[in-house]
Symmetry: C2
Subunit: 339 residues, 2 copies
């Protein structure tokens, strides 16, 4: 996984690339938002030709930002990675599915958007990263300009090793039209379902509401949003099973964001399966634990994205962060800082 | 809406019918569970011929119980209601989409399932009901034999009038493989996201866990489950908009049940739109409030289904109710009683 982050001088955007092991991974997608911006998603229909993909791109820049996938394609082509389309091993077409979030103008300049060079920088960062290396979260990569409701959004990740030994991980870009917090209490929806919560104190919540109202009065209402996710596993899934996983992972978005999947959300989940670990052949329900984990990890990754985000106050608007508003002791540096 | 409830002598099942106004309603469906049992759902694809339906059937009895829809068809045919297929007004084919929950053997007799006569009784009850009349909830109709996790499930409803004046209502049959309660605290997931909750006291939760463990030891694990819902509105929706509504309503199931949409859930949502109230033509996002409400009402209806359910201890198993386990003062009669 790698990020390319573009900030300053009108910019507040970026691109994130999930790079599969060489040879590719089984991939699938489920689009549930009413305003999606995507590229190469039809190729992922399990009935269609392409079996594996080398990379998935999540990007800012709305539909313009999908150009970042072209930079990832070029990088893969240079390495002969992709679908072989002739006898010359250099003749490949890398299928690079991509989805975008709306962040146009968040840095001040409507035209400051990821392009092929941003995609290339992100895939180079992914290639340079070590497996198991901690992933940068918060306002980085495709989450750089992300917002959730009136709060700053960003990138979050979570992973788990299941009882079967199968690993599942989730990467999200949280940029939703709906809210991640309960307006009555200030609690994060995504935390309410996973543990006994301490609700924020009324004084903290009241101050947060005042600050958010101030931000809302200053900012234009964001016209479009989107939560993107990649759920990846080392299980050996068919393409259809991966598609089921992409679909149920949307439940994890629904538990963290309310309302969601609206006409102005382009919510899209990709699933990747590297195939190292077979499902238990004797159990027809073996997929269930992966489905349940995929949804739960997406919820957790959204919570982490929101908690890792840092506030932005710039030419593209005032976006407080959840930690700034609700963390009672003052907050130190966080890995997602864009200051 | 009408229920037919079959209990005693090996029975614990039933059928629920939502009857549209004469002339029918725009209808759509979204199937998200991995083990659905449905009839006439392909006709609802917005690309396909049939424009409106006269009734939707939710039923117990697994795939066998889909026969109940035939009784509803016969009742409609008697009245000349359905798709006209010739010049004789009696020559109609009523399209009656149906979906089933798994409850085979819950009353003790694996073969005691709804059939055409059960469907006819339910549609007669629907026809006899007055608009606005309170709907019976709990262990009635298709919810008679329903269970959620280890708890007794049932039927629940909820409705709201939106700012636009549009009404949205939801009817659910809660019968999920996943849980509606947080195992750590005993709180209902569907209540955590809608208000500040008082968690059950540790002593009550501990006693509940012991009772559920006792029930689980006695019962065979239920092999299949399913949450069904009908979301209905008086808005003027296209068939595609109704399909979007059916899809986003699944978010309401995801917020109340965890995990959900598994291979052994057949989760299916129907949407009905009677068309009396147009959407605001100048607002491209006018559908959003209906989508958000649909999901929220499904969550609320699931909570009501679980809270209205009464315990069952019979030849098909021991199924405690949430109220029995968690309500600290003793519980009086409830409308869903099957005793």
């Amino acid at each position: 996984m790698g990020h390319a982050t573009r900030t300053g001088d009108g910019w507040l955007t970026g691109t994130t690339v999930v790079l599969a092991p060489e040879g590719g991974a089984i991939a699938a997608v489920d689009v549930r938002g009413g305003g999606p911006g995507t590229k190469e998603t039809d190729a992922l229909d399990p009935r269609n030709l392409v079996q594996k993909v080398e990379a998935v791109v999540l990007t800012g820049g709305s539909a313009y930002g999908l150009d970042s996938a072209s930079g990832v394609m070029a990088w893969l082509e240079d390495r002969g990675r992709g679908v072989l389309v002739g006898t010359d091993p250099a003749h490949v077409v890398p299928v690079v599915p991509a989805a975008c979030v709306f962040d146009l103008g968040r840095g001040g300049d409507f035209r400051a958007r990821p392009d092929a060079s941003t995609g290339r920088a992100a895939v180079e960062a992914a290639d340079a990263s070590e497996p198991g290396e901690p992933v940068r979260e918060g306002c980085v990569g495709a989450g750089t300009g992300a917002v959730v409701g009136r709060l700053k959004g960003g990138v979050g990740t979570a992973s788990a090793v299941l009882e079967s030994g199968i690993t599942v991980g989730a990467l999200v870009v949280a940029n939703a039209a709906g809210s991640v917090t309960d307006p009555e209490t200030g609690a994060l929806y995504g935390e309410l379902l996973s543990r006994r919560v301490e609700y924020p104190s009324p004084a903290v919540h009241e101050a947060a509401r005042a600050r958010l109202a101030e931000a809302a009065a200053r900012n234009a209402p964001p016209p479009l949003n989107t939560t993107l996710a990649v759920v990846a596993t080392d299980a050996d899934l068919t393409r259809a099973q991966a598609q089921k996983l992409a679909g149920t992972a949307h439940d994890g978005i629904a538990r963290a964001v309310r309302p969601v999947h609206l006409l102005n959300d382009g919510d899209t989940v990709f699933a990747l399966a590297t195939g190292a670990r077979p499902l238990a052949a004797e159990n027809p329900l073996a997929l269930n634990e992966i489905l349940a984990a995929g949804a739960d990890l997406v919820t957790r990754a959204i919570v982490r994205a929101v908690r890792a985000a840092v506030p932005v106050d710039g030419p593209g608007g005032l976006w407080p962060s959840y930690e700034e508003l609700y963390r009672e002791p003052p907050l130190g540096d966080c890995p997602g800082s864009v200051t």
